[in-house]
């Protein structure tokens, strides 16, 4: 692109055009041009490449109010939609600032382009952005709605789940077993490996401190208690949220987008029985099992550190572990895991059901589901810790 050249205060712009590398646009200000009647002569091709520099230069020399902008297009051989739009933009600028725009000597080839494109003369006023209070109110209002929807879904699913458990023929066992295998047995590997490594790390880090007091054997009790009370349920739930919570959301969201849920409704097949209950039930039964596995493997990790790094004999380590644990630790841990599982499944369903519109919403819903499920898990865990170990002592 050649730089715009100003001749003795007059404008002269020359640019290469995009389609034909040899064609150029030259804009020259006519000698008789004044601030009241600005006369510009365009020569060459006004296309997407030339339109930008042209617009910039013209804007520097717009006529005064009640003046005229005269564009001489006699030597303009071609134009494209970008060029046409630039002319319309100039016309609009003139309308708001109070000058008129006239085209002179329009060639047939250019005229055809100007006839082809249509514009709305009076543009609708731009949509006003909602004020801070409006959008704040909207956010609160939709949050209340969302909570209401969630409670309805939770109640439907939980009650439906309990009912179908006791109503022969209503429970979709095949769907339940498929879900249970997806959520449970197929997650054994990853949950086991991660919690084993957590147990290992936990023991290793605490040993570093406890050894200074010659209390290395307490690594056993520390690992056991923290795995069974906190780490086992927590890590399992977070892994399941990422693994199965997300897949519940994407599955339900895809069904929603594909009108499958609508189809169920008009076929008289209840969504809650058919999709929701098997998923929630599979989650609630499988996560405690995974948590037990997590507890065991975490302790196993600690045990290996104890034997290899701390030279504690296997048997005293296990004895110490068993001594440290009480039934309450195990029961509260498993109770928590049931609540986490219930939450993950419902949050997954809720985000899936909430999808409106197209496929791109499925991804968004899945992300939102995992984030809110993990948030739920951490908050619920804090509350349970207070209830179990502060309130109940």
């Amino acid at each position: 692109m050649l730089p715009p050249i100003l001749w003795g205060g007059h404008l002269r712009t020359e640019v290469q055009t995009s389609r034909d590398p040899h064609a150029t646009l030259t804009v020259t200000e006519a000698p008789h041009s004044t601030a009241r009647a600005r006369a510009l002569v365009l020569a060459g091709v006004l296309d997407a490449k030339g339109a930008g520099p042209f617009a910039t230069q013209v804007r520097k020399r717009l006529p005064v109010k009640d003046g005229k902008l005269l564009l001489d297009l006699t030597a303009l051989t071609a134009i494209d939609s970008a060029g046409t739009a630039t002319l319309v933009d100039l016309w609009r600028t003139g309308k708001t600032r109070g000058f008129s725009t006239e085209l002179q000597g329009v060639q047939p080839g250019v005229l055809q382009w100007l006839q082809e494109f249509r514009v709305t003369v009076d543009l609708p006023p731009p949509v006003a952005l909602p004020s801070f209070f409006e959008s704040f109110g909207d956010t609160i209002w939709s949050a209340i709605h969302a909570l209401g929807d969630f409670i309805v879904l939770a109640a439907d699913t939980t009650i439906g789940g309990i009912q179908s458990f006791f109503t022969p023929g209503r429970m979709r066992w095949s769907a339940y077993f498929r879900e249970a295998s997806l959520m449970g047995s197929q997650a054994f590997g990853i949950v086991g490996l991660i919690t084993f490594l957590i147990g290992l790390t936990l023991a290793f880090q605490s040993a570093y401190q406890l050894r200074q007091f010659g209390a290395a054997i307490y690594v056993a009790s520390l690992t056991a208690i923290s795995m069974v009370r906190e780490m086992g349920p927590l890590i399992t739930a977070i892994l399941v949220a990422g693994r199965s919570g997300s897949s519940i959301t994407s599955e339900v969201a895809t069904m929603k987008v594909g009108e499958e849920i609508d189809a169920m409704q008009v076929m008289g097949i209840p969504f809650v029985d058919f999709v929701a209950v098997p998923k929630v039930l599979a989650m609630v039964t499988m996560v405690p099992l995974l948590t037990m596995l997590a507890d065991l493997l975490g302790i196993l990790g600690g045990w290996i550190v104890g034997m290899v790094y701390l030279d504690i004999a296997p048997k005293p380590y296990l004895q110490k572990t068993i001594d440290a644990l009480v039934t309450k630790d195990l029961v509260t841990g498993l109770f928590k895991s049931v609540v986490f599982a219930w939450g993950i499944a419902l949050i997954g369903l809720y985000h899936g059901m909430g999808v409106r519109g197209g496929a791109q919403e499925v991804g968004k819903a899945t992300t939102a589901s995992v984030v809110s499920a993990i948030f739920f898990i951490i908050v619920a865990d804090s509350i349970f810790s207070i209830i179990f170990y502060v309130v109940m002592g």
Binding site: T84, E259, A263, Q265, V266, G268
Partner: protein, 268 residues
Amino acid sequence: MNEVILQVRGMIVRYGARTILDGVDMTVRQGEIRVILGGSGSGKSTLLKGILGLTDIAGGQVSLLGQELTKLGEKERGALMQRIGVLFQNGALFGSLTVGENVALPLREHRRLPEGAIAELVRLKLAQVDLSHAENLYPSELSGGMKKRAGLARALALDPEVLFCDEPSAGLDPLTSAELDALLLSLRDRLKMTVVIVTHELASIEAVADSLIMVGGGKVIAEGPMQDVRSRGIVAVDEFFARKTKSMARQDTSVATLFGLETAKEGV
């Protein structure tokens, strides 16, 4: 006159602040093929959704097969739904089931039939839509037109008294579309089925429609038997069947007119 199968009175549907349907009335009688037509965004799909109870209606009543839909409890609703069939726009097949299992699903849910009878019934329905070869395929393995036909087979599984179709011929090639039209006609003639179709496919409207209702801007523009409506000289209806519009882009001026290079022409 045949008995009234479906009656909509003053249906109002709102999405947020936008009013999609603003007091729509419609009456469909037994054995007719009724087309709901209108341009994109006219609210015709919403009308169907409102009738089926898939969207909340802010006002009005729907009476289907003599029952007031808004007053039904969950059980009665479920029972009523077994008497209708719905073909969704893209088939809405369940992705985790094969085509055969999709068709069998309503039968297993609502009928007590021996396995052998279910299998035969599924084959009957699939043959009806010319999909016998696709029984064991999954929906993801089907083309758009096959999905639609499989969806139709599932909608017909329980021999519904009323069949609702949401844009059945959209995205189909003309040949398949014509076959579908022929099938709808024979369902009406032989099985005395009432059919309600949402569409804007002109060829198929001319082939099958007994009566039509045109919606636009959330209101009913015209309703009645096909010939009757077409003879009334309603601009929107005439434009639709003449396959050309006077109204489109009428508010817009050409750029040439803007600069006074030609006088504004009366609609093109």
